[in-house]
């Protein structure tokens, strides 16, 4: 049994298709990332998995429990860090943690020791008596994480965990997530930060316009583009017939114009450069700049996003 299983998960808001037949499985102990641009359907997917939004179609199982038929059982096994830091502003940090434990049915002693532990792990101890309304955005985010961990869930959902955090807080958040996963917790997170997905996730699903367009490890996703490393070239003045020549070149897989630059995807940059040199001599063209680039997760992302865009 996998920790999270989504089958044809679909959500319509009226006419709007927010999540379109999404399928994926998250293994126990895995950090699984949902990467996509704004409005792609990341939050809606998390909300369906955490029982807050009813799917229009499809099913999902979390910790083996169907979120529609056995929501209470599923809820016992996960914690949630939502998009918005939802703490009780009027309660102190300590009382927020204690209340979070209380609604999970933990005894007072359990809650006390667990809250103490979380305060020290998350470096919140010195803020324990502060009202949550007086916390900075980063501290609030940590408190929300603490509240989600109170009952030591097996599965943790995080919707843009590091959004709005500065560099230090972001690093602490990511380190904490990594440690949790090392101790066997399954982590499902959403992000539109490619670097975050790359650094943190064992596997990434790229979601664009309500659909998953790729699921794989960050490394494998980069490999899919490895066949087409890219060379970026810019001319003082584009020679006529350049585009046709590029497209006809037998080493070139794809050509894209980025501003005044041409981005040429090729499986073999050095052979392409050789033929480019010949071409330049023949056409007496002046090269302004040239750059060879390895694939980044960003390239994968951009290529998938643009391809999904073309498909409608």
């Amino acid at each position: 049994m996998d920790a999270i299983e989504a089958e044809s998960l679909t959500k319509y808001f009226g006419e709007l298709l927010a999540v379109d037949h999404v399928n994926f499985r998250v293994k126990k102990g895995e950090i699984f990332g949902f990467l996509g641009p704004n409005g792609a359907g990341k939050t809606t997917t998390i909300r369906m998995l955490t029982t807050l939004t009813r799917p229009s179609k499809g099913t999902a199982r979390v910790a083996g429990y169907d979120v529609l038929n056995e929501p209470l059982r599923a809820k016992q096994h996960f914690g949630v860090v939502p998009e918005v830091s939802n703490v009780y502003d009027e309660l102190s940090v300590w009382n927020n943690l204690m209340f979070a434990g209380e609604i999970y049915g933990m005894s007072r002693t359990e809650r006390r020791s667990r809250s103490d532990e979380l305060l020290s792990v998350l470096a919140l101890a010195e803020h324990s008596d502060k009202k949550a309304r007086n916390l900075s955005k980063g501290l609030k985010r940590k408190l929300v994480l603490g509240m989600a961990l109170v009952n030591s869930p097996e599965i943790l959902f995080l919707d843009e965990p590091s959004s709005g955090l500065d560099v230090t807080s972001t690093r602490l958040m990511r380190d904490t997530i990594r440690q949790l996963a090392q101790r066997g917790m399954t982590v499902f997170l959403t992000t539109h930060n490619i670097e975050e997905a790359n650094l943190l996730c064992d596997r990434v699903a790229i979601i664009v316009k309500a659909r998953i367009v790729a699921i794989d490890s960050p490394e494998n996703l980069k490999m899919t583009l490895d066949a087409s490393r890219s060379v970026e070239i810019a001319f003082k003045k584009d020679p006529s017939g350049l585009q046709d020549w590029l497209k006809a070149s037998n080493r070139v897989n794809a050509v894209r114009k980025d501003g005044d630059k041409w981005k040429v995807f090729t499986s073999n940059p050095s052979e392409f450069l050789d033929s480019l040199v010949n071409y330049l001599e023949r056409e007496r063209a002046n090269l302004l700049s040239i750059n060879t680039l390895g694939p980044s997760l960003e390239d994968v992302f951009v290529s998938l996003v643009t391809n999904a865009g073309k498909g409608g």
């Binding site: 909300r47 209470l72 918005v84 309660l91 609604i103 792990v121 066997g184």
Partner: protein, 271 residues
């Protein structure tokens, strides 16, 4: 950190402990909110005195009326404040993703208003006894009357809070739209002996009527309907309000109506 899962079984007592946790949280956060104090405390007190002054009513009529009104406004205001506020801050979703039954959430919120109203109601009662030498014909019935009334009025507030808004003002306004007219047909300002047939029909559909009537019986020993009908009436309203509250809250929860405001909250939070 110990990440071993702590398996929580849902025992019947969990329904109550979860409800109590929610109630205590609401008590801490919302009792002293300006909106609650304004509509729940000051409003009924001023309203009452503006009617009672100069009418030379006996204390056995005056205090039960004031007590019933205090609860009618006080108990129903807490939920009406808390629920939309928590929708806005998204803390409501904290309860929805916790392994607690929707009934526990509703019951907890009801308890919050119930305790507020009951505490608030004891002020005129204690003042009446200590200061004006108010008699008490039956203290058990007095306690019962306060408990039943406060609970029922609290469920009224919870029921109205199902309206999928994030603004407590919206709920308060709609609630007053109902509370104010009911106030005038419930035999507090005009005795039920003097209202005629139509007046009695109107009085019968107001929970405040039975509350006021039962309190009069508990204090002065006389009432219009008698304690049995009053108790039944109040309980009936509690059941109807609670059932409707559950139905409406569940319907709203499943309908994406409140989820639609997420984007705004997100933008506000990151601003």
């Amino acid at each position: 950190m110990d990440m071993a899962s702590s398996e929580v079984r849902i025992r019947p007592v969990r329904y109550l402990t979860a409800a109590w946790a929610v109630a205590r949280k609401d008590m801490r956060i919302y009792y002293f909110r300006p909106g609650n104090l304004m509509f729940g405390v000051l409003f009924p007190v001023f309203l009452f005195f503006s009617f009672a002054v100069g009418r030379d009513l006996p204390v056995e009529i005056l205090i039960p009326g004031l007590t019933a009104m205090a609860m009618f406004f006080g108990s129903s205001s807490t939920g009406a404040m808390a629920i939309p506020t928590e929708r806005k801050t998204k803390t409501y979703e904290r309860l929805l993703v916790a392994p607690i039954h929707p009934i526990s959430i509703l019951l907890g919120q009801t308890l919050g208003g119930f305790i507020f109203g009951a505490l608030f109601a004891s002020v005129p009662i204690v003042l009446g006894i200590a200061w004006f030498g108010m008699p008490v014909a039956s203290s058990p019935v007095l306690v019962l009357a306060i408990a039943l009334s406060s609970f029922t009025f609290s469920t009224l507030g919870i029921m109205f809070a199902a309206i999928p808004t994030e603004s407590p003002g919206d709920i308060m306004m709609l609630l007053n739209f109902v509370r104010l007219p009911l106030l005038f047909v419930s035999g507090i300002f005009i005795s039920l002996d003097d209202v005629g047939d139509i007046g009695l029909v109107l009085a019968a559909i107001s929970p405040l009527t039975y509350s006021n009537d039962l309190l009069r019986w508990a204090v002065g020993g006389t009432s219009y309907f008698g304690p049995a009908i009053d108790v039944l009436g109040i309980i009936l309203f509690a059941i109807v309000f609670l059932a409707l509250a559950l139905l409406l809250h569940e319907r709203v929860r499943k309908s994406d109506r409140t989820a639609g405001k997420r984007k705004r909250a997100k933008e506000a939070a990151s601003a």
